[in-house]
Amino acid sequence: MASSRISKPGGREFVHRLSSLFLRRHAWFVRIVWGALFLFTLVVFTVSVPFFF
């Protein structure tokens, strides 16, 4: 295992487990939010191109 140098195993493990749990349990929510951000960024970029002329 490469993830060494754990100074406070208990707290670190807890937060990690919590974050993984959140991401797994609300996978669809995360995907929708991220997808929206993805589309938003692409739209902003696409709109910016014609303005550059």
Binding site: T41, L42, F45, V47, S48
Partner: protein
């Protein structure tokens, strides 16, 4: 307003080619970043670090595009562009501090990350913080009165300072990010982590170098900011190289993930959750702040507003028909009577002579003051310059360049602190910081300029006068006033030669300044040695 019109009102075919060149490269960059972001998210959406990196890649790819800067000037698109650019800049720095295990390494990078967010907020909010002349402290109001005829130049200087301060701060912060990655790679990472992150670290660093080495000169050097052969060459050669380097971060991330099994091992993420939430919160505060400031500092002119004043129009040429306004009080038209510019030889020679005489009198007056109040300093500085002319000139170069750069850095620091204080609503403290800071800086710069413009010339003049007197009239060599007076006359004579004179002036500035610096250093060292005997 668009990129082409900014360069020239009548763009040529080649200008269109340059714009296409930039657009195609921007699209390639955006695609590479978006594809890498999508791939990382698709594979590891259950891992916070991977989510952070994919988001950072996505936003940075867009934020780095020059097209977004143009779009941001459209009022309707200000918000979306601010969100993309703000998030892109913040997240990419978090990647530098957190990659690959989600811990802030070194520890101080945590505080720097927070400072960075605060600075970005301040930067974005600042355009709305307009300061009225009446609000300024008395000293600044007086200063602004003194330079009111230079408003246009001042605006240009302010814009230049703003851009260069942004670049300097960004360079500083990204430099800290690069340092953090190198430090982590060398001292913190395990051998396996090193193997997995090697290419990513390499890619991230080269990406930052590629961005700054291209964008910095374009913004900072006036020769590259305006249309012309240097700018064209710089864009044609520099942009593809910059883009190639900027493509390395997404490429190396993607490859490391697929080939080196990055993140397949169980990474432990401690801070990302907390700091992700914090970033979100700060982004909200940022958005709220910008909204609030816009609301507070907006000027509305009603559609039915009317102007009943008198329009006074003064012009050097006939333009009566060009005046469209019809104010209630009527229009008064006046022809301005400017004297025609003199171009004949006698006039030019007279002007030249007048400048020289003015310089001579100034030098003589300041020289008299120096001989009267501190003859020993002048003599010792001249002795130092005679004993070590080359060392003095070298120190002079360092002092001259370092002095102005130091002043610039100090000005940036004062502005940054002022903005920070202003953003946390300590407006009075902010104005006081700016007022006291810039007054002190102005005074220091004035003294520095005085030393460079006159002090150094006096040292060299004294040196010349001393040499002459020792050769011709050794009996009077200890008469400081005569020595300096004759030296100044000879110096001004050499200074008046068209091209050579300029070089003489430069050499005098460097040698005089450097000798003063050497003497100051030696005196201080002597004092320290006396204070600590043995």
């Amino acid at each position: 307003m668009n990129a082409l019109r900014q360069i020239d009102p009548v763009p040529s075919l080649f200008d269109y080619y340059l714009v296409w060149h930039t657009i195609v490269l921007s699209i390639i960059t955006m695609l590479a970043y978006a594809v890498a972001a999508g791939a990382i998210f698709w594979h590891r959406s259950d891992d916070w670090m991977a989510v952070l990196i994919s988001t950072a890649l996505l936003m940075t790819g867009a934020a780095a595009s020059p097209t977004l800067e143009i779009l941001g000037r459209q009022p309707a698109w200000f918000w979306p562009v601010a969100v993309v650019q703000g998030l892109g800049l913040v997240l990419v720095l978090f990647v530098f501090y957190l990659f690959p295990d989600g811990r802030f390494v070194p520890r101080w990078s945590r505080s720097l990350a927070l400072l960075w967010i605060g600075w970005l907020v301040a930067w974005a909010v600042m355009p709305s913080l307009t300061v009225e002349k009446g609000d300024l402290p008395l000293a600044l109001r007086y200063l602004s009165f003194l330079v009111s005829s230079l408003t246009h130049t001042l605006d240009a200087v302010r814009y230049y300072l703003r851009i260069s301060s942004l670049l300097l701060v960004m360079l500083g912060w990204f430099g800290s990010g690069v340092f953090a990655q190198i430090y982590r790679f060398e001292y913190v990472s395990t051998p396996i982590q090193r193997q997995q992150t090697k290419w990513v670290v390499f890619g991230l660093i080269l990406g930052v170098v590629g961005y700054f080495a291209y964008r910095g000169p374009l913004l900072l050097f006036p020769g590259l900011a305006h249309r012309g052969t240097p700018r064209t060459l710089f864009i044609l050669i520099g942009e593809p190289i910059s883009i190639l380097l900027m493509l390395l971060p997404p490429l190396s991330m993607g490859l490391s993930m697929l080939r080196r099994r990055l993140w397949v091992i169980d990474p432990i993420i401690q801070s990302t959750l907390v700091y992700g939430t914090l970033t979100g919160g700060l982004a909200l505060i940022y958005l709220g702040g910008v909204f609030l400031f816009q609301l507070l500092f907006r000027t509305d002119v009603q559609e039915d507003a009317a102007d009943f004043g008198l329009l006074l129009y003064v012009s050097a040429v006939e333009q009566v028909e060009a005046i469209q306004a019809a104010p209630g009080g009527g229009v008064v038209y006046q022809m301005s009577e400017e004297p025609a510019e003199r171009t004949d030889f006698a006039w030019g020679a007279g002007q030249w002579l007048l400048t020289r005489v003015r310089d001579l009198i100034t030098l003589l007056v300041i020289g008299a003051l120096v001989v009267w109040r501190m003859p020993a300093v002048l003599r010792r500085t001249a002795d130092t310059a005679r004993a070590r002319p080359l060392a003095s000139a070298g120190r002079g170069v360092v002092l001259l360049v370092g002095g102005w750069l130091g002043a610039l850095a100090l000005a940036v620091l004062i502005v940054v602190v002022g903005i920070m204080l202003g953003v946390i609503t300590l407006g009075q403290l902010s104005l006081a910081t700016l007022g006291v800071g810039f007054s002190g800086l102005t005074l220091a710069l004035f003294l520095f300029w005085l030393l460079g413009a006159y002090g150094s010339k006096l040292v060299v003049s004294y040196l010349v006068g001393d040499w002459l007197f020792r050769r011709i009239l050794p009996r009077y060599a200890d008469r400081h006033v005569w020595v300096l007076g004759v030296g100044i006359l000879f110096y001004m004579g050499a200074r008046s030669i068209p091209v050579l004179g300029w070089l003489v002036g430069l050499a005098a500035t460097l040698v005089g300044l450097g000798a003063g610096w050497l003497l100051y250093r030696e005196t201080r060292q002597g004092a320290v040695e006396l204070a600590q005997p043995g």
